[in-house]
Every structure is written in structure tokens, then in C-alpha cells.
Amino acid sequence: MRGRIARSARRPSGRARRGKATMNSIEPILSLRGVGKAYDGTRVLENVSFDVLPGEIVGLVGENGAGKTTLMRILFGMTVIAETGGYEGQISLSGARVSFKSPFDALDAGIGMVHQEFSLVPGFTATENILLNRESLESTMLVDLFGKRMSVLDRGLMDRRASKAIERLGVPLDASMLVKEMPIGHKQFTEIARELDRENVKLLVLDEPTAVLTESEAEALLSALKILASQGIAIIFISHRLHEVLAICDKVVVLRDGKLIKETRNEGLTLREVASLMVGRSLEKAATIRPVSERPSGTPILEIEGLWVDMPGETVRDVCLSVSKGEILGIGGLAGQGKLGLPNGIMGLFPAGGSVKLDGKSVPLNAPRKTLDAGMAFVSEDRRGVGLLLDEGIDWNIAFTAMQVKGTAVIPLLGGLFQWRSDVAMRELALEYIAALDIKCTGPHQRAGNLSGGNQQKVCLAKAFALKPKLLFVSEPTRGIDVGAKRLVLDTLRRYNREYGTTIVMVSSELEELRSICDRIAIIDEGSVAGILPPEAPIEDFGLLMAGRLAREAAAKEAAK
């Protein structure tokens, strides 16, 4: 593919690093050939091939759902891959074809992985974490009787090994400090040091390692990575912070929709270029979006100021946003940046603060009932956890919220002393929406847990529509449902917007989806609004908004030049 042959002579890795001149004759550490993967007929990865050389830092960029995660799962032999039918193509490590049965095989073969979320034991010291389950042992008398686990830890040797790994990383990390007392950056270093303790580590994969770090911590990490590369370790660096990618990577690999879009050396690359590669695609003719002139503007229905939301993994730090009456506002952004926190916080599901006004009236936060009463409704991204009563029937699922909030399907008894639930009215309501949204089911009593993903999503929508909301938040409405159902769900949203004038705020990771339906699209990055664009805006503008503040600044500088 790239004209390199895997069987070339092995050279000392020290000379190999960044050696473009010798590149063609060096055996790559990792070589992917035609790797692909489909889940249940849905293709998520197709014919991906590239090489990673010793001492090379390869930046892997792509949107959510571009196939990065799947690729890493395949590389690590995660069991979920084998359980869903394996993968196509081949992977070679130092020239030898490999196929790992479990992540432990991959680790043994010399691949280290640092995940986005910390995988550390908080009550252990850095040393104990670095050597977790790989401790140095001294045999005891009981070993022969009860097995190896009766050996005693050799603390002295462990300390030496840990300091060696930390030294290799070149960062000031106190090996005897408890992880729970560390600043976040040091936790990340601990994770990396853990991989370095393995004698044979040849390839290090870092998944969004800087996502949780402060700027200075991120800088320290990047220089540590450079040091590692200079020692001959190959690194795959996955990050959405494009400026970081451009700062340290020798090569950039761009994935989009499961395909390898571009593999290029990091020479003369601009942020704009990479951003457009990452998100760009042929935009289907969006006949469905309103022409600019017909877009609602002016009268704001929802005004958000200084909103913060403590939603784990989706923290919103400071959002100011105004939504016009009758529009469909899209909220986009990469995972973990806080776009999901926005509706969840306003609807009171996670602790939040700031000011939210609906129709000029202030809506109290942290009180789900108050927001519902004010006329807002929410279709959660977590269908099974938040959106549905899996053990109850469709009728309950659709009618429950409306019953509690609006008294739908309630018969007052004894002059309103008792409020009797009318199962008949609930059934009728359910039947109405089953017909309106074309929910495929055996009847209103079918348990929600037994429905398909698409039909579950329709039930969730029906639940929200039954509230007759002025403003509807829809979060990831098409996640995990098939293509046909996706179209139906989007059409339904559009219909309700056009026919009933319901204002819709739609949060989605799929930019294309937002661009196909929304009047405006706000991109959330690092917990606040990075910018608002019309759906027709150039694709790389969206990409840049997602790429982080520093990247935007860098891009601005580039442009100024």
C-alpha cells in the first residue's frame, strides 16, 4: 500500500527514530493490512492499513464513531470483537502476524495502552499502581503449598523498578505518594509509567491522554512522550486536540466513517486541513433543512447564562446560549466535552447552577418537576437507564410522565380527593402514539424492555410529546438504532417542529445528522459553547470548533499568516 515491505532488515531502533532517510528499510513495529469490522451487518471499519515504525509518534484523529475505538479494540484483542464475529485483515507486530485472544496477550506482546479513564487503585501508592499485579515477589515456604500468591512482595525491588519506569518518562513523580492524593496529571503519568515497566513494551497507545489535564500538565506529558519516542518506543496518539497532534506527531492518520481517509507525514500540515479531513464529507443534499429566510429568529424562548452542570464525564463549565422560538437548534461536539451535560443539567438530572429562563420566566434548576411544569421535556440519551421503565408496558412508559405532570389519564374520585389512574385512558394514549409514530409492538402492554432500539426511542419520543412541551430537548436520538429507524425518528422530530411549532434542542454526536435537520448548530467544547454555525457552514469550521481552544487560536494565527 505504502510501498514498504514488512520483511526488510531490522535496524537498531535508536537510529530509526525520525529517520525519514532510512524509513523504507526499517521493519515497522506495527503493521495493519486491510483491517475491517462489522457489527451485526453495520460496517464500522473498512480496509484500514498503515504502519507504525519504531520511535515514531502516529497521531490518530477522527470524530466519534469514526472507528478509532473499534480499531483499538481489535488491536488489543478485546473479547467483544471475537464475540461479534472477529475482524477482517491482518495485524503484524515486528513482522510476525498476531491475533490476540485477550488484552493480556496484547500486553505480553509488548503493546501498552493508556485509557482515557484512569484505571488506578486510589489507596495504593504510585509504585503499587505501576506494578499492579506485576509485583516483584520473594518466594516463601507456603508457595509450594498454596501457590505463587503466597509469595511476599519485595518492596525494595518494586521501588527500584517503579523509579526506573518514572525515570524513563522523565517526569517528577513521587513513587511513594498515594494516587488519591495526586494531582490529575500525575495520575496520568502513573498510568503511562505502568506500561513502561514492562520490559518488552514496544508500542504505546494513548487514548485522549490530555483530555483531563491542564495545559501545563498536557505540555509536560507531550514532552514525556517525545522522550519515550526517542528511546525507540512507537506511540499511537489519539486526540481530538489537533494542535497537540501536530505538535508531536511524525505522522497523522485520519479516520472517518470507518475508512482511512488520509495518512500523511506531519510536514506542512495545517490545523484547518486536518480539521476538514476529520469531519469533511460529501454533504447529502439537505433538502430537508429550512431555507435561511424561513428560519425562526428573534424571539428567544430559552435563555441560558453561566450554566454549569456536574455530570460525570460530561461536565458543563460555563454555557451561555439563547434558543429562538420554533427553531431546531443542534448541539454538537465531541464526547466528553459537555454537550450531554447541557440538557441533563437543565432538566435537573444532575447538579447544576446558573440562570435558565423560559419565555422570560426564570426556571429553577435541580428540580425536574419545575422544568417539566414550565413546559420543557427531555428525551434522554440513556434510553434504558433514564428514558424507560423497562419492566413496564408501553402504555405506562408513554403515559407516566404526562400523568404525573399534567394529570393525563387521571380520573378524580370523591371530588379530587383521590386521583385514580385510568388504565383505559392510558391505553388509548398509548394506542394514539403507537399509530402516530408507527411503533412496532404486540400491543400497548408489551414490556418496553422487549422492544427494539428504534421502537424504544419512539416510545421515549411519545413520552415527551404526550407532555405537549413548548421546548423539547432530544439527546442522541439516533444512537444505537438502525438506519431506517434513524430516518423515522428525525422525520418525526421535524414534523412535530413544523406542525406544532415545538422548539427542539437536539444534541447529537453525529454532525451530519445535525446538519440535515437543524437551523443552527452550536458546538460545545471543554464545557462551553465554542461557536454557533449555520448548517451550511464549511465543514472545517465545525472541525476547528471541536478541536479545542488552543487549536482555534493556532488556526487563527495560521490564517493571519
Binding site: M347, G348, L349, P368, R369, K370, T371, L372, D373, F378, S380, G385, V386, G387, L388, L389, L390, D391, E392, W396, F400, T401, M403, Q404, V405, G407, V410, F418, Q419, W420, R421, G449
Partner: protein, 347 residues
């Protein structure tokens, strides 16, 4: 074949074993000289006696508070109601009525405090409920000694130190419900119409409550608390209501039990009340977070059936009294089974 498997998986093997076991007992009974009618009447009487305490499990299970091992708290309310009624010297329907009123009031107060506590320890309710129940039983044991009761039927005659361990309700409201509209069948057996009727009314009331808007909300809280919260339900308040309801039912349950049994059992009496009730509702098909009226009926009948039938039948068959051991194994085995099953909705 797969239908059978699905049924077994859904209904639970232990329940099927227990039902088959009880059926076998009934089948064997006539052959070993145990009268079916008398057995049946016995089961009915125990059914009426214990039913309401089993019913008391339902609200808390429905709201997701788990199995109510804190039932002794309600029982204590019932004991206080009964002893105060006697202390006031009230007899007959008035006495029972006043006892009920006091019980329900106290049950509501205890339940409120208990519910507040359980709301602050979500996830650990069952273990804490057990020990809160136990320690309140011991606290009340001290109180029974110290409280200035005067009624001569209740206090130790000679020592004069506190209340008796068991107090007869004879002359007050002995079998007041059981004998109401009672039907005499044969020379020895009386069908306790009144008591069964009261049980049925209680079941109907709880059923009615669960069909109200509030009851619906409570069910949703138990089914998926996050869903309920997203629907604007105050989850803690619903849980509180369910605990109050459970505690009040527990208190009334023990009153009904006492009038049929004939005695009030003080001191360590309430200890042994929770486990049989918990086991019964589980045998009836309830899970840790889902229960309905059918579970109450079926469970009480199966469990009391086994309690009644095993001693007589097994004794006649193998001349050894296994019944207690069987009861211990069945009731605790059932609870263990329920606890180790994966619940469908994560909490």
C-alpha cells in the same frame, strides 16, 4: 420444551419446588390419616393471621426500598396500641378500634423516622433495616419494664416489675374479627370469615392506593428511580410514603394476628415476625423490587400451608419432626435466592 424452560426461569425453580412440595403434602395427607378439611381450615386461619404482615412488604418493595426487614418497627407500634388499649380498660370493638387508631398513628410516626433514615442510606437499606429493627425491639424491651403500665392483667403480679411476656387478650378483643360472621364447619373448625374479610379489605385498599396517581409514581420509583426523577417525581418522598405505609400495615397486621392468636407477645416477640413475612412474599413470586397482590395471596397461602402441613404430614410419615428445620431452610433459602438473583433494573 423451551416454553417449560422459560417458565422455570421466569417463575424460579425454588418456587416451583415449594409449590410441588406443598401439593405433595396435600396429596399424601389423607393417606397418613391427616384430615384434609382440618388442614385446610388451619391454613386459612393462619393465612388470615399473617396475611396483612405479608402485605406490609408490598409498598416498600414497590418503591425500591427492598425487603422490609424492619417490620419489627411496625410490630412495636402494634404492641403499643394493643397494650395502651388494654391499659385504658377498653374491651370489644371499642378497644380494638382504639388500639388500631393508636397503632396507625404510632406506625405513621415510626415509619416517618424510619423512612427518613432509609432515604439517607440508599443501597444498604436491608442490612440497616434489620439492625434498626432489632435494636428498636431491645429498646422497647427496656421500655416494657420501665413504662408505668397499671392494668393488673398486664403487669407481673408479684414482682411488680414491668409487663408480662405474654398478655392474654381474652376479655378484651379475643377473636373479635375471627368470630365476626364466622362459619362453623364441623365440630371443631370455624372459618374466620371476619378476619379473612379484613385481610381482603386491606389488600383492596393497598391495591386501590397503588392505582392512584401517587401509587403509580411509587411503582415507577421502584421500577427505575432515575426515570421517575426525570419525570418530576420526588423519589425520596415516595420512598418515605411507602415506608410509612409499610410500617402502619405491619402494626395493624400484628393486631389482627393477636386477636386470632389470643395473646400479645412482648419483649423479644417482634423478632420472629419479619423473616416469615419476607419469605412468604418471595415465595409468592415477588422479587426484591417488584411485588403485587397476587404475590401476597399466593405467598401467604404457600408459606402458611407448608408451616401447617409439614409437622402433621411429615411426622406421620417418618416419625420425626423435620418441620422446623424445613421451615428454616425454605424461608431463608427463598430469601437467599431472591438476593442472589440479578435484578433487571440496576439501582
Amino acid at each position: 420444551m423451551s416454553g417449560v424452560k422459560a417458565f422455570v426461569a421466569d417463575f424460579g425453580l425454588p418456587r416451583i419446588i415449594i409449590a410441588v412440595f406443598l401439593l405433595a403434602l396435600f396429596v399424601i395427607a389423607p393417606f397418613v390419616g391427616v384430615s384434609l378439611t382440618s388442614s385446610f381450615i388451619n391454613v386459612t386461619a393462619r393465612f388470615g393471621m399473617n396475611g396483612i404482615m405479608v402485605l406490609a412488604m408490598v409498598p416498600m418493595i414497590q418503591s425500591g426500598c427492598g425487603l422490609n426487614f424492619g417490620l419489627p418497627l411496625g410490630v412495636i407500634a402494634g404492641l403499643l396500641g394493643a397494650t395502651l388499649g388494654i391499659e385504658f380498660g377498653l374491651t370489644g370493638i371499642a378497644g380494638f378500634g382504639v388500639a388500631t387508631l393508636i397503632t396507625l398513628t404510632l406506625g405513621a410516626i415510626f415509619g416517618f423516622g424510619y423512612g427518613k433514615l432509609l432515604n439517607r442510606v440508599k443501597g444498604d437499606e436491608m442490612m440497616i433495616a434489620t439492625y434498626v429493627g432489632f435494636s428498636s425491639v431491645m429498646l422497647m424491651s427496656m421500655a416494657w419494664i420501665v413504662l408505668p403500665y397499671k392494668s393488673p392483667t398486664m403487669i407481673w403480679g408479684f414482682a411488680g416489675e414491668g409487663l408480662r411476656t405474654t398478655i392474654s387478650v381474652e376479655g378484651f378483643w379475643d377473636k373479635i374479627l375471627s368470630n365476626f360472621l364466622a362459619v362453623r364447619i364441623g365440630p371443631e373448625f370455624v372459618f374466620p370469615t371476619g378476619m379473612v374479610l379484613v385481610f381482603a379489605i386491606c389488600v383492596a385498599l393497598v391495591w386501590f392506593f397503588l392505582h392512584l396517581k401517587t401509587g403509580t409514581a411509587m411503582t415507577a420509583v421502584g421500577s427505575n428511580p432515575v426515570y421517575a426523577r426525570a419525570s418530576g417525581i420526588d423519589v425520596n418522598r415516595m420512598r418515605l410514603v411507602s415506608v410509612v405505609l409499610s410500617t402502619m400495615l405491619g402494626g395493624f397486621g400484628i393486631l389482627v394476628y393477636q386477636q386470632s392468636f389470643g395473646f400479645i407477645q412482648l419483649y423479644e416477640g417482634p423478632f420472629s415476625m419479619a423473616f416469615p413475612a419476607v419469605a412468604a412474599i418471595l415465595i409468592g413470586g415477588a422479587s426484591v423490587n417488584k411485588a403485587n397482590m397476587v404475590n401476597v395471596f399466593v405467598g401467604t397461602f404457600l408459606f402458611q400451608g407448608i408451616l401447617t402441613m409439614t409437622p402433621s404430614v411429615i411426622n406421620s410419615v417418618i416419625k420425626a419432626d423435620f418441620s422446623e428445620v424445613i421451615r428454616v431452610i425454605i424461608s431463608n433459602g427463598m430469601i437467599l435466592y431472591a438476593l442472589t438473583r440479578k435484578t433487571k433494573v440496576a439501582r
